[in-house]
C-alpha cells in the first residue's frame, strides 16, 4: 500500500500565495518588501525569509471578485479568533464578512505576530490588523477617486463597492481597482504591534460585524471530517518515528541493543544521541511496535530526581528558594498582626497539573531540497521556526513551519517538542519523518503547570473588618521551558545541550483590587532536585499561575468572611468599595460591576457560610470568587452537590460575569468562557500529576483523570458585562479572554464545598476520596 498523501486546502493556498508574492502581479513595480535580499542585490539565504510586515500586501489580498484574504500571524487554538479577525478586518475594509477568508500562522506567508498565547488575540494583535485594513480602504478610496473622477469625500463605500454620493450609477468595485494585484504600499511602525498606515481605524459605533456572532468558519470541516489537521499530514516517501523516553527521570542511556528490533517489519533506523532515542519505521504501527520492543540499558541517577507527589508540599515548604520576589508592603502589616483581635492562618496547595492534550504531540518534517518544512499545530509557529533552525544549525530562511489545526494549545504547543524532533530525524534520515508521541509519553512528559504552596495569614478587627493580609507563595517553577528554545526543548535537553542558566521561573500574587489597610505579599520559586531532562518540566498552562494563586487567595478571603460571620459576596464588595483608587481601565469599577452581575444572575441570597448543615446524603452549597487578568475581570459562582457517602462533588450550576471590554463575537466569547470554566473545574475536581521518587506515574486517562460528560453542570451561564457600566466613559478596547475565566473557578468550588459541608478543602484536586477523608476528619 502506498501511504495516503494529500496537500490540504490551506497548504495549497500557501503555494498560490507564494506565487502571488513572488511575481510582481500585474504591476511592473519592483517589490522590495518580500525579499529583502533581492532588493539590495544579494541572494536571500533561503526560500523562506520572514514576511515583511511593513508591506500592506503581506496582510491583505483583494481578489478580482472583490473578496479579500487576510494573512495574519496568529493561530486559532479553537476559540474562534480567526472568525473575529475577519469581522474586525471586514469592518475596517468595508467588505462583506462573507467575502473574506483568513490564513494564519504559516511562517513563510504570514507576518510574524508570534502565533497565539497570553489571550492577546483581540487585546493586542487585532489592532495592527484593523489598522492595515483601514489603510487598504484608504488606498482603495484614493484609487476610486481617480477612477471615478470625484474627490474622496464625495465617495461612499459599502461591501467593496465605491460609489459617488448622490450618483450611485458611478461606481467601481475593489476587485476592479486592484483585484489580484498588489497595493505596493509601505506601512510604518517600529514593531509589528505598531504597524500602521495613514488611515485611522473606525470608531466602535461604525463597526457593523463587530458585536455580531457569525458562526465560526472553521467548524463545518471539523464536523464533517473534511478538515486536514497537522496530525493528518502525509507526504510521499515519508516514514514514522516514535520516541523511547528514559524509564526513570534523569536516567542515562548506557547501551542500545539494535539486534532486538533490526529484523522487525518496516525497520528503518534507531536514532540516538545522548539520552534521546527514537525508532523510525516505514509504517506507523511498526514504529509503535518497534519502540516497545527496543531493548535499552539505562542507568538510574545517583540521587532521587524529585520527592514523591505525596511529599511534594513538605519539600516545597522546607527547601531554600532559588529566588524570591521583593515583598509588596502596604501599611504596617507587622504591627497590625501583632495587635489584631483575630488571626487566621492557612496553607493552600496546588499540585503539578498537566496540559494532557487530547492528542499527544506530533509533527511532520520534510527535508526536501535541503530546506526544512514542518507541518505542525504549534501555536507559536514562528518560535518553532526559529527554534528548529537554530537547533539544526540551518539558516532561518531555509526553515518554514506550516501551521495546521491541532488539539487545544493552552501553552503546551508554545513549547511543542515534536517539531524539533521531527526536523532532527528528517535531517538524519533524509526523508520526511512524522513523529507522534504516545499517550503515556504525553501525560508523563508534557509541560506542567507549576505546583504551588501558599501560606496565608489574615487579621480581623472586632467588628469583622479585614485589617491585614499576608500572602506568601512558593511555586515549583524553576527552569520553566520557554518556547521551543533550541537549548531547552526536550530533545536538546536529552542530548545534553544546556543553556547558560536555567530560566528563573515565577510565582504570582493575587489579582484583586481589595482595599486592605495592611498587606504584605511575597513570592518565591523553588527547584526540584532534578532540573534537566525531567518530566516535571514547567511550561505555560492557561494564565499560567493565576488558577493556583487565585485558589489560595480567593479561598482565604472566604475563610476571613466566614470568620467575620459575613456574607462572602458582601465581604468582597466591602473590600472593593473601601477605596476609590482606580486605573485607566476602570478596573475597580468593573470588578464591582462584575461581582454584582454574577450575584444577580445567580440569585445570590445574603448570608454567611457555611449554611446550616443539611441532612441526607447530598449537601448543597454555593461559592463565589473573582479575579482579573490584565484588564479582564471575571466573577464566578458555583453551586455544588456534595455526596457525603461517596465524597463525590457535582457542580450543579456555574454562572460567570465576564468583562473583557469590547466584545467582537459574543457567542464565541461565551463559548470560550464556558469551556475555560469547565477546564478549571476539571483541575479543581480531578487533575493531579502523580509521581514516585523516580518517575511520573500519571500516564493515561485513568491515572490522570479529567472532567467527563458525567460531571457536566446542569447549567453553565455566562453574562457578558461588556465594558464599562458608566455610559459617559469612552469605549473600552478589547481585552483578553480565555485565561481570565480559568482563574477564579478553583476557589469558587472550594468555597461552595465549604458552604455545603462546613469543611474547608485547601488542597487541589477535590477528588472523592480526599473529600470523603476531609468530611470524616471533621466529624471525628
Amino acid at each position: 500500500m502506498t501511504p495516503v498523501a494529500g496537500i490540504p486546502k490551506h497548504v495549497e493556498a500557501t503555494l498560490s500565495r507564494r506565487n502571488l508574492l513572488k511575481s510582481a502581479g500585474m504591476l511592473v513595480v519592483s517589490f522590495a518588501g518580500f525579499d529583502p535580499g533581492e532588493a539590495n542585490g544579494q541572494a536571500p539565504a533561503g526560500p523562506y525569509p520572514e514576511v515583511d510586515f511593513h508591506q500592506l500586501d503581506s496582510w491583505i489580498v483583494i481578489h478580482e471578485d472583490s473578496s479579500a484574504t487576510f494573512y495574519v500571524g496568529k493561530t486559532d487554538c479553537g476559540q474562534g479568533t480567526g472568525t473575529s479577525f475577519r469581522q474586525l478586518m471586514a469592518d475596517e475594509l468595508d467588505v462583506a464578512y462573507e467575502k473574506t477568508t483568513c490564513i494564519m500562522g504559516s511562517t513563510d506567508i504570514t507576518v510574524d505576530q508570534g502565533g497565539s498565547g497570553g489571550s492577546t488575540a483581540m487585546e493586542r494583535d487585532s489592532w495592527p490588523m484593523r489598522r492595515v485594513a483601514a489603510e487598504a480602504r484608504r488606498v482603495l478610496l484614493e484609487m476610486g477617486s481617480q477612477r471615478l473622477g470625484a474627490p474622496v469625500d464625495q465617495l461612499a463605500v459599502s461591501a467593496g463597492v465605491i460609489t459617488v454620493k448622490g450618483a450611485p450609477s458611478k461606481n467601481v468595485t475593489y476587485g476592479q481597482l486592484i483585484g489580484g494585484r498588489k497595493f505596493n504600499v509601505t506601512l510604518t511602525g517600529s514593531n509589528i504591534n505598531a504597524t500602521n498606515g495613514r488611515a485611522l481605524v473606525k470608531p466602535v459605533q461604525e463597526l457593523k460585524n463587530t458585536g455580531l456572532s457569525p458562526q465560526r468558519y472553521d467548524i463545518p470541516a471539523k464536523v464533517d471530517g473534511s478538515l486536514k489537521w497537522a496530525v493528518d499530514m502525509r507526504l510521499p516517501g515519508m516514514v514514522h518515528a516514535r520516541n523511547v523516553k528514559p524509564p526513570f527521570a534523569g536516567a542515562k542511556l548506557v547501551s542500545v541493543d539494535e539486534s532486538s528490533v533490526r529484523k522487525m517489519p518496516g525497520f528503518v533506523k534507531i536514532v540516538t544521541k545522548g539520552n534521546y532515542v527514537a525508532v523510525v519505521c516505514e509504517r506507523e504501527e511498526q514504529a509503535i511496535n518497534t519502540a516497545k520492543a527496543l531493548k535499552l540499558n539505562w542507568e538510574k541517577p545517583a540521587t532521587a530526581p524529585f520527592p514523591s507527589s505525596e511529599d511534594l508540599f513538605r519539600y516545597m515548604r522546607e527547601v531554600k528558594p532559588t529566588s524570591s520576589s521583593r515583598s509588596v508592603v502596604v501599611g504596617d502589616p507587622e504591627s497590625a498582626f501583632t495587635n489584631a483581635p483575630k488571626l487566621i492562618e492557612a496553607d493552600y496547595d496546588v499540585p503539578f497539573q498537566g496540559h494532557t492534550a487530547i492528542s499527544p504531540a506530533h509533527a511532520l518534517a520534510d527535508p526536501s531540497n535541503g530546506q526544512m518544512t514542518i507541518y505542525s499545530n504549534d501555536m507559536k509557529s514562528y518560535g518553532m521556526r526559529r527554534g528548529v533552525a537554530d537547533f539544526l544549525g540551518m539558516p532561518r530562511e531555509q526553515v518554514r513551519v506550516v501551521w495546521m489545526e491541532g488539539p487545544q494549545g493552552f501553552g503546551r504547543t508554545a513549547a511543542d517538542d515534536a517539531g524539533c524532533e521531527a526536523a532532527y530525524l528528517a535531517k538524519e534520515i533524509g526523508r520526511p519523518v512524522r513523529v507522534q508521541w504516545m499517550r503515556d509519553e504525553e501525560t508523563a512528559w508534557d509541560t506542567k503547570a507549576p505546583a504551588f504552596a501558599v501560606k496565608l495569614k489574615g487579621a480581623l478587627d472586632a467588628a469583622g473588618n479585614l485589617l491585614a493580609l499576608d500572602y506568601d507563595a512558593r511555586s515549583a517553577d524553576y527552569n520553566h521551558v520557554g518556547y521551543n528554545e533550541p537549548d531547552t526543548v526536550l530533545i536538546a535537553q536529552l542530548m545534553g545541550i544546556r543553556p547558560a542558566k536555567p530560566a528563573s521561573g515565577s510565582a504570582s500574587m493575587p489579582s484583586e483590587m481589595y482595599a486592605i489597610p495592611h498587606r504584605r505579599m511575597a513570592t518565591h520559586v523553588v527547584s526540584l532536585p532534578l532540573v534537566w531532562e525531567t518530566p516535571l518540566r514547567t511550561g505555560n498552562l492557561r494564565d499560567p499561575n493565576g488558577p493556583q494563586s487565585t485558589f489560595a487567595s480567593e479561598s482565604f478571603i472566604d475563610e476571613l468572611a466566614a470568620a467575620a460571620n459575613a456574607d462572602p459576596f458582601e465581604f468582597r464588595m466591602k473590600l472593593l468599595t473601601a477605596s476609590s483608587a482606580e486605573d485607566g481601565g476602570f478596573r475597580r469599577a468593573r470588578s464591582i460591576a462584575a461581582l454584582k452581575a454574577v450575584a444577580d444572575a445567580y440569585g445570590w441570597d445574603r448570608r454567611s457560610s457555611p449554611k446550616p448543615r443539611g441532612t441526607g446524603d447530598t449537601l448543597t452549597g454555593r461559592g463565589i470568587a473573582y479575579a482579573f487578568r490584565g484588564q479582564t475581570v471575571v466573577a464566578e459562582i458555583a453551586e455544588v452537590e456534595v455526596n457525603v457517602r461517596t465524597g463525590r462533588v457535582w457542580v450543579k450550576r456555574l454562572v460567570a460575569a465576564h468583562d473583557c471590554g469590547l466584545v467582537v463575537n459574543p457567542e464565541s466569547l461565551r463559548h470560550t468562557v464556558e469551556c475555560a470554566m469547565l477546564h478549571s473545574l476539571s483541575r479543581a475536581l480531578h487533575e493531579e500529576v502523580q509521581f514516585d521518587g523516580e518517575k511520573v506515574t500519571s500516564v493515561d486517562w485513568n491515572s490522570h483523570p479529567t472532567l467527563t460528560h458525567a460531571d457536566v453542570p446542569g447549567e453553565v451561564r455566562v453574562v457578558l458585562v461588556n465594558g464599562d457600566p458608566n455610559p459617559n466613559r469612552p469605549d473600552l478596547p478589547p481585552y483578553g479572554a480565555g485565561e481570565a475565566a480559568c482563574k477564579p473557578m478553583l476557589a469558587a468550588i472550594g468555597n461552595a464545598i465549604y458552604d455545603a459541608t462546613g469543611v474547608r478543602l485547601r488542597r487541589i484536586p477535590f477528588r472523592a476520596n480526599r473529600v470523603l477523608a476531609a468530611l470524616k476528619t471533621s466529624q471525628a
Binding site: R234, S359, E405, P407, H671, T708, H709
Partner: protein, 158 residues
C-alpha cells in the same frame, strides 16, 4: 495478511499485519482521517468508528477483528446532507479545537440509533467515556438534545 474491510459502503483490501489496529488502516491506508489517535488505549474515544452498529474504539481493534460494516465520520452524511447530529454540532457551535469531536459525534450517533430519545442521565451515561480536553461537553449535550428533536420531527429517520 490480506484484510478486506467494508467502510462507508465501499470495500477495501489492504495487506497488513493481522495485529495492526484498525485506526492506522483507516487513517494511513484508506485516507479516512476522521477517526484520530488520542490514547491508543481505548480510554478517550477520539478514534471511534461505528462497527456493526456499535461505537467502537478503532485504536484497539486489530485488523483481524475488523469485520462487517464500518462507518466513519466521513460516512455519516447522506447524499451530501449532513447527519442531524453534524447539523446540530454546527448550530450549537460545539467545537473549540474540535480534535475529539469525531468520537463525540460517532458515539452520539450510536447512542441515538439505540435510544432515539435519551434523557439527560442517559446522555451523560452514554457519552461519559468520550473525553474532551477543551471541555465542550455542555454544548455537546445541547447538540445531542437538538438532534433528538430534529430526528423526531423527521419521523425518527436519521
Amino acid at each position: 495478511m490480506s484484510v478486506t474491510l467494508k467502510v462507508n459502503g465501499k470495500s477495501h483490501t489492504v495487506d497488513v499485519d493481522a495485529s495492526t489496529p484498525l485506526l492506522y488502516i483507516l487513517r494511513n491506508d484508506l485516507g479516512l482521517q476522521g477517526p484520530r489517535f488520542g490514547c491508543g488505549l481505548g480510554q478517550c474515544g477520539a478514534c471511534t468508528v461505528i462497527m456493526n452498529g456499535v461505537a467502537t474504539r478503532s485504536c484497539i481493534v486489530p485488523a483481524s477483528a475488523a469485520k462487517g460494516e464500518i462507518t466513519t465520520l466521513e460516512g455519516l452524511a447522506r447524499n451530501g446532507e449532513l447527519h442531524p447530529l453534524q447539523r446540530a454540532w454546527i448550530d450549537e457551535q460545539v467545537p473549540q479545537c474540535g480534535f475529539c469531536q469525531n468520537g463525540q459525534i460517532m458515539t452520539a450517533k450510536a447512542l441515538l440509533d439505540r435510544n432515539p430519545k435519551p434523557n439527560d442521565a442517559q446522555i451523560r451515561e452514554g457519552m461519559k467515556g468520550v473525553l474532551c480536553r477543551c471541555m465542550t461537553y455542555y454544548r455537546i449535550q445541547a447538540a445531542i438534545k437538538r438532534a433528538v428533536k430534529t430526528i423526531a420531527a423527521k419521523g425518527g429517520a436519521a
